[in-house]
Symmetry: C2
Subunit: 315 residues, 2 copies
C-alpha cells in the first residue's frame, strides 16, 4: 500500500513537501497528488493520505483510504471535506515545535502591548515625546480563549513573566497557575477582568464569528485583542467598530478570513490594527514530516495515533 500527498499547493511546493516526507518515511511509497497519474499505481493502492486542505475532488479519487493525516494543526476545512472517508481516523498536526513558535509569538505580542509599543510608535510618527504611565505585569491580566496545546505552551511561558492568567474553554480544564472558566457565564466573568485577550480556539461551527460586538463589549474597556487562531473567529466590522468606540484599545491580527489580507481592507490602514501575515506558528516541514511519519507508522502497526480529531466536535 502507498501514501498520497494531497494539497492545495502549487506543484513545486507540493513536490518539496513530498521529498521531506519521503526522507522521514523511507519505507513508504509516497506520491504527490500531482504525480498520481504517472506513478503506475491504482488509486485503490493508496491507503493513507497526507492532507493539506485538498479539494474534495482530489480526495474523492482514493477509495481505499484508511487514515488521513493533516499537515496543519487547524483542520476546520478538512473535517468538513465531503470526500473525507467517514470511518478513517483523521489526525491533525500536534507539533511541539509549532507550540514553541506560538509561545514566542504570543509572548512578543503580549509584552509589547503591555509596554505600550503601539502608543509609542504612533507618538514617534508625530515626533511626540509622550511618556505613558507604566504598569507592572502583575497588574495586567491576560485572558485566553482556548486552553489547548498551543494555548498551554503560551500560558506556561507567560506565567514566568508575572502576568495574572485566565483561560476559557468549552469544557473547563484545570491548569496550574491559570484561573479557568467555561460556559457563557464563565466567559462574561473572564472578559470583565481581561486586559489582553488572546484567541487560540479551534475554528468550529460554534466558535465561528464568536469574537463579535457582544463579546468585545464584555471586555474591560480599552483592552487589547491578539488573534493568532483563525480569521473566521472574528466579525471584522464589529472589531473595527469596537476600536473606533475605544472599547477595544488595540488589535494584533495574525490571521484573516481571506489570506493574504486583500489590498484595501480597512485593517491595513487602521492605526490600532497591527497586521501580521499568518506568521505566529509556521509549520516546519522537517518537524511536521517526523510527526506525520510517526503517526503513519502507528497506523500501520496498530499503535496510538497522536492528534486524533473528534469529527463531531470538529477538532
Amino acid at each position: 500500500m502507498a501514501v498520497v500527498l494531497l494539497t492545495d499547493m502549487d506543484e513545486a511546493r507540493e513536490a518539496r513537501w513530498r521529498d521531506v516526507l519521503a526522507r522521514a518515511l523511507p519505507e513508504e511509497t509516497i506520491v504527490a497528488g500531482a504525480g498520481v497519474d504517472t506513478a503506475g499505481l491504482e488509486p485503490a493502492a493508496f491507503d493513507v493520505a497526507i492532507a493539506a486542505n485538498p479539494p474534495a475532488a482530489a480526495l474523492a479519487r482514493f477509495p481505499a483510504l484508511g487514515f488521513v493525516q493533516s499537515l496543519w494543526a487547524g483542520v476546520e476545512q478538512l473535517v468538513h471535506n465531503p470526500a473525507l472517508p467517514p470511518d478513517a481516523p483523521l489526525a491533525r498536526l500536534v507539533d511541539p515545535n509549532m507550540a514553541r513558535f506560538m509561545a514566542e509569538a504570543v509572548t512578543a505580542h503580549v509584552t509589547s502591548l503591555h509596554r505600550d509599543h503601539p502608543h509609542y510608535a504612533r507618538a514617534q510618527a508625530e515626533e511626540r515625546w509622550a511618556p505613558a504611565p507604566a504598569v507592572y505585569a502583575r497588574d495586567r491580566t491576560v485572558g485566553f480563549l482556548g486552553t489547548g496545546e498551543l494555548a498551554r505552551a503560551c500560558l506556561r511561558q507567560l506565567a514566568g513573566l508575572d502576568f495574572p492568567l485566565l483561560g476559557w474553554s468549552r469544557s473547563r480544564r484545570d491548569l496550574d497557575g491559570v484561573e479557568t472558566f467555561a460556559g457563557d457565564e464563565g466567559l462574561t466573568a473572564m472578559l470583565a477582568r481581561t486586559d489582553i485577550l488572546v484567541n487560540l480556539m479551534p475554528l468550529t461551527a460554534e466558535t465561528r464569528g464568536m469574537i463579535d460586538a457582544r463579546l468585545l463589549g464584555r471586555l474591560k474597556p480599552g483592552a487589547a485583542l491578539v488573534n493568532v487562531a483563525r480569521g473566521g473567529h472574528v466579525v471584522d466590522a464589529d472589531l473595527l467598530a469596537a476600536l473606533d468606540e475605544g472599547q477595544l484599545g488595540e488589535a494584533v491580527l495574525d490571521v484573516f478570513d481571506e489570506e493574504p489580507l486583500p489590498a484595501g481592507h480597512p485593517f491595513w490602514r487602521h492605526p490600532r490594527v497591527h497586521v501580521f501575515p499568518h506568521v505566529a506558528a509556521p509549520t516546519e516541514p522537517e518537524s511536521a514530516a517526523r510527526i506525520a511519519a510517526a503517526n503513519i507508522r502507528a497506523f500501520r502497526t496498530g499503535g496510538a495515533i497522536a492528534g486524533l480529531v473528534d469529527r463531531a466536535r470538529g477538532y
Copy 2:
C-alpha cells in the same frame, strides 16, 4: 539634624516628592530645596541630602552633609558634582521595583525584535503581506553590556524564554545561565555572537561614547541594539551610519543625549530607529522613598547603606 531634598525639578514636582519622602520618614524634618530659606533652619542643620541631579550651587550651600542619597539609579551627574562633600557616603537608588520594570521593558523589546515586529510594521505601512522566516529563541543570542542589578533582572527573565545569553562587564562576573566576558577581547568575542545587544552599563568616563562605529562594526551583521541605559553611551552619528550600511538592523532607543529628544533629530524619522521617551524603568516615588528612608535610618544608626557608590569607579 534635618534632611534637605535637592533636585533639578520644578517646584511643584519637588514638593510632591518631598511629601512622599515625608510620609516614608515621619521621624525626620525634610525640607525641599525651594523651601530652605523659609524653613527656619540654618544650612548647617542639614546633615543628609536626598539628591536628584541638583545644580552645584544648591548642594554647596550645606556645609554639614554626612550622607547623600540619590533618587535615581544613574549617578553619572551627581558623582561629578563639584559641591559633593568629598567624605560623605553617596548612595544610588537600588530598587527591585525599578528592576521589575526594566526586566519587563527589555523582555518586550527583545521578544518583539526577535519576532520581527519592526519588519511587519513597515510592511503594513506599505500594505505588503511579507512573511519572513521565523527563528526559534534558542537560535537568537542576546548579549548584555553591563551585568549589574538591572541587567541581572533582565537576564533572569530572558533565561525562561530560551534565548542564549551573554554578558560583558568591566570585571568578569559569574552568572547562572549566562556566558560572561570582560576586557576588550571578551567584548569582541561577545559581539561577534550577538543578535540583539542590550546596553545596561553605568555611564562613566570609560563607557561614554563606547557604542561607536568600532563597537557596532564588531556585532553580527544585521544585529539589533536596545539602549535602555544612557544616551551618552551612544555616538549618534555612528549609530545612524551603521543602520544605513545594514551592519545594524534595528535600534530601540529609550534614552538620548538630550531629553526630550529634540524636534528634527534624525532618530525621530529613521525607519529603523524606535524611539521610546525614557520609559523603560521609571522611578516609583513610593518605592524610591521607602528605599531612601531605609538608607537614611541606616546612616543614622550605623547600619549598612545599600547602593554605596565607588566614586573612583563612578557608580
